[in-house]
Protein backbone atom coordinates (compact mmCIF):
# COMPACT_ATOMS: atom_id res chain seq x y z
CA UNK A 1 0.00 0.00 0.00
CA UNK A 2 1.47 3.27 -1.13
CA UNK A 3 0.80 6.65 0.38
CA UNK A 4 -1.29 9.09 -1.62
CA UNK A 5 1.68 11.05 -2.94
CA UNK A 6 3.95 8.08 -3.59
CA UNK A 7 1.42 6.57 -5.93
CA UNK A 8 1.08 9.86 -7.77
CA UNK A 9 4.85 9.98 -8.15
CA UNK A 10 4.78 6.44 -9.45
CA UNK A 11 2.02 7.43 -11.86
CA UNK A 12 4.19 10.24 -13.17
CA UNK A 13 6.89 7.66 -13.85
CA UNK A 14 4.43 5.45 -15.72
CA UNK A 15 3.18 8.35 -17.84
CA UNK A 16 6.70 9.43 -18.73
CA UNK A 17 7.55 5.83 -19.61
CA UNK A 18 4.44 5.66 -21.77
CA UNK A 19 5.45 8.81 -23.60
CA UNK A 20 8.95 7.45 -24.14
CA UNK A 21 7.41 4.33 -25.67
CA UNK A 22 5.16 6.39 -27.96
CA UNK A 23 8.06 8.53 -29.13
CA UNK A 24 10.19 5.40 -29.54
CA UNK A 25 7.57 3.66 -31.68
CA UNK A 26 7.34 6.78 -33.79
CA UNK A 27 11.11 6.91 -34.22
CA UNK A 28 11.06 3.31 -35.36
CA UNK A 29 8.10 3.79 -37.72
CA UNK A 30 8.65 7.25 -39.14
CA UNK A 31 11.15 7.84 -41.90
CA UNK A 32 14.24 9.79 -40.88
CA UNK A 33 13.37 13.24 -39.64
CA UNK A 34 14.20 16.03 -42.01
CA UNK A 35 17.19 18.05 -40.96
CA UNK A 36 16.19 21.24 -42.72
CA UNK A 37 13.89 23.88 -41.33
CA UNK A 38 10.62 24.69 -43.06
CA UNK A 39 8.96 28.05 -43.09
CA UNK A 40 6.03 28.65 -40.75
CA UNK A 41 2.65 28.63 -42.43
CA UNK A 42 0.30 31.53 -42.92
CA UNK A 43 -1.23 30.63 -46.25
CA UNK A 44 1.63 29.69 -48.52
CA UNK A 45 3.81 32.78 -48.64
CA UNK A 46 7.06 33.10 -46.77
CA UNK A 47 6.83 35.06 -43.54
CA UNK A 48 8.41 38.48 -43.67
CA UNK A 49 9.35 38.57 -40.00
CA UNK A 50 9.76 36.24 -37.05
CA UNK A 51 6.55 35.59 -35.17
CA UNK A 52 8.39 35.82 -31.85
CA UNK A 53 7.51 39.34 -30.84
CA UNK A 54 5.96 41.23 -27.96
CA UNK A 55 2.41 40.08 -28.39
CA UNK A 56 -0.21 42.70 -27.73
CA UNK A 57 -3.31 41.45 -25.96
CA UNK A 58 -6.33 43.49 -25.12
CA UNK A 59 -7.11 41.60 -21.94
CA UNK A 60 -4.23 42.73 -19.74
CA UNK A 61 -6.56 44.36 -17.15
CA UNK A 62 -8.37 41.06 -16.65
CA UNK A 63 -5.14 39.38 -15.58
CA UNK A 64 -4.95 41.82 -12.65
CA UNK A 65 -8.51 41.19 -11.55
CA UNK A 66 -7.95 37.48 -11.99
CA UNK A 67 -4.89 37.55 -9.74
CA UNK A 68 -6.90 39.12 -6.93
CA UNK A 69 -9.46 36.33 -7.07
CA UNK A 70 -6.84 33.64 -7.54
CA UNK A 71 -5.21 34.71 -4.28
CA UNK A 72 -8.61 34.63 -2.67
CA UNK A 73 -8.90 30.94 -3.59
CA UNK A 74 -5.95 30.25 -1.29
CA UNK A 75 -8.21 31.24 1.59
CA UNK A 76 -11.32 29.60 0.26
CA UNK A 77 -9.90 26.09 -0.06
CA UNK A 78 -9.03 25.70 3.64
CA UNK A 79 -12.15 27.63 4.57
CA UNK A 80 -14.47 24.91 3.23
CA UNK A 81 -13.17 22.52 5.87
CA UNK A 82 -14.04 24.71 8.85
CA UNK A 83 -17.38 26.27 7.91
CA UNK A 84 -19.59 24.41 10.38
CA UNK A 85 -16.83 24.39 12.97
CA UNK A 86 -16.44 28.18 13.01
CA UNK A 87 -20.08 28.79 12.26
CA UNK A 88 -21.89 31.86 10.99
CA UNK A 89 -18.82 34.09 11.32
CA UNK A 90 -16.93 32.03 8.72
CA UNK A 91 -19.68 32.41 6.14
CA UNK A 92 -20.25 36.11 6.81
CA UNK A 93 -16.55 36.95 6.63
CA UNK A 94 -15.85 34.95 3.50
CA UNK A 95 -18.79 36.30 1.55
CA UNK A 96 -18.16 39.85 2.71
CA UNK A 97 -14.64 39.46 1.36
CA UNK A 98 -15.98 38.02 -1.89
CA UNK A 99 -18.53 40.81 -2.18
CA UNK A 100 -15.78 43.42 -1.89
CA UNK A 101 -13.77 41.69 -4.61
CA UNK A 102 -16.84 41.40 -6.77
CA UNK A 103 -17.51 45.10 -6.44
CA UNK A 104 -14.18 45.54 -8.22
CA UNK A 105 -15.36 43.16 -10.93
CA UNK A 106 -18.55 45.16 -11.41
CA UNK A 107 -16.54 48.35 -11.72
CA UNK A 108 -14.17 46.78 -14.25
CA UNK A 109 -17.16 45.39 -16.12
CA UNK A 110 -18.75 48.82 -16.30
CA UNK A 111 -15.48 50.16 -17.65
CA UNK A 112 -15.69 47.56 -20.40
CA UNK A 113 -12.65 45.53 -19.34
CA UNK A 114 -14.30 42.19 -20.10
CA UNK A 115 -15.32 42.89 -23.66
CA UNK A 116 -12.80 43.84 -26.25
CA UNK A 117 -14.51 43.71 -29.59
Amino acid sequence: MLTAWASILLLLGVVVAGLVVVYGVSMWLAPARSVGEVEPFSGGFAPEQHAFSRFHVRWYPITMIFLAFDMEMLFMYPWVKVVSEVGVAAVVEMFLFLAILFAGVLYAGREGAFRWT
Binding site: V14, S26, R33, A51
Partner: protein
Protein backbone atom coordinates in the same frame (compact mmCIF):
# COMPACT_ATOMS: atom_id res chain seq x y z
CA UNK B 1 -14.40 5.85 2.75
CA UNK B 2 -12.13 5.08 -0.16
CA UNK B 3 -10.48 1.68 -0.14
CA UNK B 4 -6.92 0.69 -0.88
CA UNK B 5 -5.93 -0.16 -4.41
CA UNK B 6 -3.25 -2.62 -5.52
CA UNK B 7 0.03 -1.06 -6.75
CA UNK B 8 -0.48 -2.21 -10.33
CA UNK B 9 -3.41 0.20 -10.57
CA UNK B 10 -0.77 2.76 -11.40
CA UNK B 11 -0.40 1.05 -14.79
CA UNK B 12 -4.08 0.29 -15.21
CA UNK B 13 -5.21 3.90 -14.73
CA UNK B 14 -3.44 5.39 -17.79
CA UNK B 15 -4.55 2.44 -19.90
CA UNK B 16 -8.14 2.85 -18.74
CA UNK B 17 -8.11 6.58 -19.43
CA UNK B 18 -6.69 6.03 -22.91
CA UNK B 19 -9.32 3.36 -23.62
CA UNK B 20 -12.17 5.63 -22.56
CA UNK B 21 -10.65 8.43 -24.65
CA UNK B 22 -10.45 6.18 -27.73
CA UNK B 23 -14.11 5.21 -27.40
CA UNK B 24 -15.08 8.86 -26.93
CA UNK B 25 -13.12 9.98 -29.99
CA UNK B 26 -14.70 7.13 -31.97
CA UNK B 27 -18.17 8.32 -30.97
CA UNK B 28 -17.23 11.87 -31.93
CA UNK B 29 -15.89 10.65 -35.28
CA UNK B 30 -19.14 8.79 -36.01
CA UNK B 31 -21.20 11.91 -35.32
CA UNK B 32 -18.88 14.11 -37.40
CA UNK B 33 -18.93 11.67 -40.31
CA UNK B 34 -22.74 11.64 -40.21
CA UNK B 35 -22.73 15.40 -40.78
CA UNK B 36 -20.08 15.32 -43.49
CA UNK B 37 -21.12 12.18 -45.38
CA UNK B 38 -24.65 11.36 -44.26
CA UNK B 39 -25.93 8.30 -42.45
CA UNK B 40 -23.76 5.19 -42.71
CA UNK B 41 -25.12 2.66 -45.16
CA UNK B 42 -24.18 -0.42 -43.19
CA UNK B 43 -22.95 -1.55 -39.81
CA UNK B 44 -19.56 -2.20 -41.38
CA UNK B 45 -19.42 1.37 -42.59
CA UNK B 46 -20.31 2.56 -39.09
CA UNK B 47 -17.47 0.53 -37.64
CA UNK B 48 -15.07 1.90 -40.22
CA UNK B 49 -16.02 5.43 -39.27
CA UNK B 50 -15.70 4.70 -35.57
CA UNK B 51 -12.18 3.37 -36.18
CA UNK B 52 -11.07 6.59 -37.89
CA UNK B 53 -9.25 7.84 -34.76
CA UNK B 54 -7.18 4.63 -34.63
CA UNK B 55 -6.17 5.07 -38.26
CA UNK B 56 -5.23 8.65 -37.44
CA UNK B 57 -3.04 7.38 -34.56
CA UNK B 58 -1.12 5.14 -36.95
CA UNK B 59 -0.87 7.92 -39.54
CA UNK B 60 0.64 10.29 -37.01
CA UNK B 61 3.02 7.67 -35.62
CA UNK B 62 4.43 7.13 -39.09
CA UNK B 63 4.57 10.81 -39.99
CA UNK B 64 7.92 12.43 -39.20
CA UNK B 65 8.09 15.62 -37.17
CA UNK B 66 9.45 18.76 -38.76
CA UNK B 67 10.82 22.00 -37.44
CA UNK B 68 10.04 25.50 -38.50
CA UNK B 69 12.52 28.33 -39.00
CA UNK B 70 14.29 29.29 -35.76
CA UNK B 71 11.75 27.34 -33.72
CA UNK B 72 11.95 27.05 -29.96
CA UNK B 73 11.77 23.27 -30.10
CA UNK B 74 12.53 22.64 -26.44
CA UNK B 75 9.73 24.81 -25.05
CA UNK B 76 7.33 23.67 -27.73
CA UNK B 77 7.91 20.02 -26.91
CA UNK B 78 7.55 20.64 -23.18
CA UNK B 79 4.15 22.15 -23.96
CA UNK B 80 3.17 19.15 -26.04
CA UNK B 81 4.01 16.46 -23.51
CA UNK B 82 2.65 18.49 -20.62
CA UNK B 83 -0.93 17.96 -21.85
CA UNK B 84 -1.14 14.17 -21.39
CA UNK B 85 1.04 14.31 -18.26
CA UNK B 86 -1.27 16.86 -16.63
CA UNK B 87 -4.35 14.92 -17.71
CA UNK B 88 -3.26 11.59 -16.28
CA UNK B 89 -1.89 13.11 -13.07
CA UNK B 90 -5.20 14.90 -12.58
CA UNK B 91 -6.88 11.55 -13.12
CA UNK B 92 -5.02 10.06 -10.15
CA UNK B 93 -7.77 11.28 -7.81
CA UNK B 94 -10.53 9.93 -10.05
CA UNK B 95 -12.35 7.18 -8.16
CA UNK B 96 -13.65 4.07 -9.91
CA UNK B 97 -16.48 3.17 -7.62
CA UNK B 98 -15.03 4.11 -4.25
CA UNK B 99 -11.43 3.30 -5.06
CA UNK B 100 -9.03 5.75 -6.59
CA UNK B 101 -5.33 5.43 -7.23
CA UNK B 102 -4.67 8.17 -4.76
CA UNK B 103 -7.01 10.01 -2.42
CA UNK B 104 -4.96 12.76 -0.80
CA UNK B 105 -6.69 15.03 1.71
CA UNK B 106 -6.34 17.89 -0.78
CA UNK B 107 -7.40 15.88 -3.82
CA UNK B 108 -9.58 18.65 -5.23
CA UNK B 109 -6.75 21.18 -5.04
CA UNK B 110 -4.48 18.65 -6.73
CA UNK B 111 -6.96 18.19 -9.57
CA UNK B 112 -7.26 21.96 -9.91
CA UNK B 113 -3.49 22.39 -9.96
CA UNK B 114 -2.99 19.73 -12.64
CA UNK B 115 -5.64 20.97 -15.02
CA UNK B 116 -4.21 24.49 -14.68
CA UNK B 117 -1.01 23.13 -16.24
CA UNK B 118 -2.93 23.24 -19.50
CA UNK B 119 -2.41 27.01 -19.47
CA UNK B 120 1.31 26.55 -19.74
CA UNK B 121 1.02 23.59 -22.09
CA UNK B 122 -1.10 25.26 -24.74
CA UNK B 123 0.77 28.53 -24.63
CA UNK B 124 4.16 26.81 -24.89
CA UNK B 125 2.91 24.70 -27.77
CA UNK B 126 1.70 27.81 -29.55
CA UNK B 127 4.93 29.65 -28.86
CA UNK B 128 7.32 26.91 -29.90
CA UNK B 129 7.21 26.92 -33.71
CA UNK B 130 7.82 30.68 -34.23
CA UNK B 131 4.68 30.82 -36.32
CA UNK B 132 2.25 33.74 -36.14
CA UNK B 133 -0.98 31.77 -36.33
CA UNK B 134 0.12 29.22 -33.76
CA UNK B 135 1.16 32.03 -31.42
CA UNK B 136 -2.29 33.58 -31.78
CA UNK B 137 -3.79 30.22 -30.82
CA UNK B 138 -1.57 29.97 -27.76
CA UNK B 139 -2.55 33.41 -26.50
CA UNK B 140 -6.20 32.65 -27.11
CA UNK B 141 -5.97 29.95 -24.50
CA UNK B 142 -4.59 32.34 -21.92
CA UNK B 143 -7.60 34.60 -22.46
CA UNK B 144 -9.79 31.52 -22.20
CA UNK B 145 -8.15 30.57 -18.93
CA UNK B 146 -8.88 34.00 -17.50
CA UNK B 147 -12.54 33.52 -18.41
CA UNK B 148 -13.26 29.95 -17.33
CA UNK B 149 -10.94 29.37 -14.41
CA UNK B 150 -12.64 31.44 -11.75
CA UNK B 151 -16.20 30.15 -12.16
CA UNK B 152 -14.63 26.71 -12.38
CA UNK B 153 -12.81 27.08 -9.07
CA UNK B 154 -15.95 28.37 -7.36
CA UNK B 155 -17.86 25.39 -8.76
CA UNK B 156 -15.46 22.77 -7.41
CA UNK B 157 -15.13 24.65 -4.11
CA UNK B 158 -18.90 24.51 -3.79
CA UNK B 159 -18.80 20.73 -4.08
CA UNK B 160 -16.01 20.63 -1.50
CA UNK B 161 -18.05 22.89 0.73
CA UNK B 162 -21.03 20.56 0.50
CA UNK B 163 -18.88 17.80 1.96
CA UNK B 164 -16.73 20.14 4.06
CA UNK B 165 -13.71 18.32 2.74
CA UNK B 166 -11.15 18.67 -0.02
CA UNK B 167 -10.79 14.89 -0.26
CA UNK B 168 -12.53 13.42 -3.29
CA UNK B 169 -13.43 10.25 -1.41
CA UNK B 170 -15.25 12.24 1.25
CA UNK B 171 -17.08 14.31 -1.33
CA UNK B 172 -18.38 11.05 -2.80
CA UNK B 173 -19.31 9.77 0.66
CA UNK B 174 -21.27 12.93 1.35
CA UNK B 175 -23.50 12.19 -1.65
CA UNK B 176 -24.79 8.90 -0.29
CA UNK B 177 -28.32 10.24 -0.23
CA UNK B 178 -28.63 13.22 -2.47
CA UNK B 179 -26.34 13.99 -5.40
CA UNK B 180 -24.73 17.40 -5.33
CA UNK B 181 -25.88 18.03 -8.91
CA UNK B 182 -29.44 18.12 -7.59
CA UNK B 183 -29.00 20.85 -5.03
CA UNK B 184 -26.01 22.58 -6.68
CA UNK B 185 -27.27 22.74 -10.28
CA UNK B 186 -25.49 26.01 -11.08
CA UNK B 187 -22.13 24.69 -9.89
CA UNK B 188 -22.67 21.49 -11.89
CA UNK B 189 -23.56 23.36 -15.07
CA UNK B 190 -20.58 25.71 -14.72
CA UNK B 191 -18.34 22.73 -14.04
CA UNK B 192 -19.39 21.10 -17.31
CA UNK B 193 -18.70 24.33 -19.21
CA UNK B 194 -15.26 24.63 -17.69
CA UNK B 195 -14.52 20.95 -18.31
CA UNK B 196 -14.82 21.70 -22.01
CA UNK B 197 -12.97 24.99 -21.66
CA UNK B 198 -9.95 23.57 -19.88
CA UNK B 199 -9.62 20.80 -22.42
CA UNK B 200 -9.92 23.51 -25.14
CA UNK B 201 -12.44 21.38 -26.91
CA UNK B 202 -15.84 21.76 -28.57
CA UNK B 203 -17.35 25.22 -28.17
CA UNK B 204 -14.14 26.23 -26.40
CA UNK B 205 -11.88 25.05 -29.20
CA UNK B 206 -10.91 28.53 -30.35
CA UNK B 207 -7.23 28.15 -29.34
CA UNK B 208 -7.08 25.40 -31.97
CA UNK B 209 -9.57 27.16 -34.23
CA UNK B 210 -9.94 26.54 -37.93
CA UNK B 211 -9.77 30.30 -38.49
CA UNK B 212 -6.14 30.24 -37.34
CA UNK B 213 -5.47 27.15 -39.49
CA UNK B 214 -5.38 24.97 -36.37
CA UNK B 215 -4.09 27.57 -33.90
CA UNK B 216 -1.68 26.37 -31.25
CA UNK B 217 -1.46 22.93 -32.86
CA UNK B 218 -1.07 24.13 -36.46
CA UNK B 219 2.65 23.44 -36.82
CA UNK B 220 2.54 20.10 -35.00
CA UNK B 221 2.96 16.99 -37.05
CA UNK B 222 3.62 13.34 -36.42
CA UNK B 223 4.01 12.06 -32.92
CA UNK B 224 3.99 15.54 -31.38
CA UNK B 225 0.56 16.11 -32.80
CA UNK B 226 -0.58 12.72 -31.59
CA UNK B 227 0.62 13.38 -28.06
CA UNK B 228 -0.86 16.88 -27.95
CA UNK B 229 -4.29 16.07 -29.40
CA UNK B 230 -4.44 12.71 -27.63
CA UNK B 231 -3.56 14.49 -24.42
CA UNK B 232 -6.39 16.90 -25.04
CA UNK B 233 -8.87 14.04 -25.25
CA UNK B 234 -7.41 12.55 -22.07
CA UNK B 235 -7.88 15.91 -20.37
CA UNK B 236 -11.44 16.02 -21.59
CA UNK B 237 -12.14 12.49 -20.31
CA UNK B 238 -10.59 13.23 -16.93
CA UNK B 239 -12.35 16.56 -16.40
CA UNK B 240 -15.68 15.10 -17.50
CA UNK B 241 -14.96 12.07 -15.31
CA UNK B 242 -14.31 14.20 -12.22
CA UNK B 243 -17.82 15.63 -12.51
CA UNK B 244 -19.07 12.18 -11.44
CA UNK B 245 -17.47 12.10 -7.95
CA UNK B 246 -17.97 15.82 -7.42
CA UNK B 247 -21.58 16.19 -8.49
CA UNK B 248 -23.14 12.92 -9.63
CA UNK B 249 -22.69 10.78 -6.54
CA UNK B 250 -19.62 8.86 -7.73
CA UNK B 251 -20.21 5.14 -7.32
CA UNK B 252 -23.51 5.54 -5.46
CA UNK B 253 -26.54 3.98 -7.12
CA UNK B 254 -28.95 1.06 -6.83
CA UNK B 255 -28.49 -2.49 -8.14
CA UNK B 256 -25.25 -2.08 -10.09
CA UNK B 257 -21.85 -2.31 -8.42
CA UNK B 258 -20.12 0.98 -7.64
CA UNK B 259 -17.54 0.75 -10.43
CA UNK B 260 -20.28 0.17 -12.98
CA UNK B 261 -22.16 3.23 -11.79
CA UNK B 262 -19.02 5.30 -12.19
CA UNK B 263 -18.56 4.04 -15.73
CA UNK B 264 -22.20 4.57 -16.68
CA UNK B 265 -22.27 8.10 -15.31
CA UNK B 266 -18.95 9.01 -16.92
CA UNK B 267 -20.14 7.63 -20.25
CA UNK B 268 -23.34 9.64 -20.03
CA UNK B 269 -21.50 12.88 -19.25
CA UNK B 270 -19.05 12.30 -22.12
CA UNK B 271 -21.83 11.38 -24.54
CA UNK B 272 -23.78 14.48 -23.57
CA UNK B 273 -20.74 16.69 -24.14
CA UNK B 274 -19.77 15.08 -27.44
CA UNK B 275 -23.33 15.21 -28.78
CA UNK B 276 -24.08 18.62 -27.27
CA UNK B 277 -21.02 20.14 -28.89
CA UNK B 278 -22.88 19.97 -32.19
CA UNK B 279 -25.46 22.45 -30.96
CA UNK B 280 -23.02 25.30 -30.41
CA UNK B 281 -20.56 27.30 -32.49
CA UNK B 282 -17.22 28.30 -31.01
CA UNK B 283 -17.40 30.74 -28.12
CA UNK B 284 -14.84 33.46 -28.72
CA UNK B 285 -13.37 34.88 -25.56
CA UNK B 286 -13.81 38.51 -26.50
CA UNK B 287 -17.53 37.81 -26.05
CA UNK B 288 -17.53 35.01 -23.51
CA UNK B 289 -15.26 36.67 -20.95
CA UNK B 290 -17.89 39.25 -20.12
CA UNK B 291 -20.49 36.54 -19.64
CA UNK B 292 -18.10 34.51 -17.48
CA UNK B 293 -17.24 37.36 -15.14
CA UNK B 294 -20.54 39.18 -14.93
CA UNK B 295 -22.92 36.20 -15.03
CA UNK B 296 -21.10 32.99 -14.14
CA UNK B 297 -18.95 34.38 -11.31
CA UNK B 298 -21.87 35.91 -9.37
CA UNK B 299 -24.02 32.87 -10.12
CA UNK B 300 -21.43 30.47 -8.71
CA UNK B 301 -20.86 32.78 -5.72
CA UNK B 302 -24.58 32.77 -4.92
CA UNK B 303 -24.58 29.01 -5.32
CA UNK B 304 -21.69 28.77 -2.86
CA UNK B 305 -23.57 31.04 -0.43
CA UNK B 306 -26.67 28.87 -0.60
CA UNK B 307 -24.59 25.75 0.04
CA UNK B 308 -22.76 27.48 2.92
CA UNK B 309 -26.09 28.34 4.56
CA UNK B 310 -27.27 24.76 4.14
CA UNK B 311 -24.03 23.48 5.65
CA UNK B 312 -24.43 25.80 8.64
CA UNK B 313 -27.94 24.54 9.32
CA UNK B 314 -27.08 20.88 8.91
Amino acid sequence: MSEAVPPWAVVILPIALVSVAVVTVGFDAVLSAAAVRGRPGSLRELGFRAAAPLREVLRLLVQPSRRTTAADTALGRIGVVLVPVAAVLAGAVLPLGFRSLSDPTVGIVWFNAMEALAWAAVWLTGWGPNSALSLIGGYRFLAQGLAYELPHMFAITTAALGAESLQVGEVVAAQDGLWFAVWMPVAFFVYLLSAMAMSFWGPFGHPLGRDAAGGAAMELSGVDRLVFLGGRWLLMVVTAGVSVPLFLGGGHGPLLPAWAWTLVKTALVLAALVAGRRLLPTLRMERYTEFAWLVLVPATLLQALVVAVVVLNR
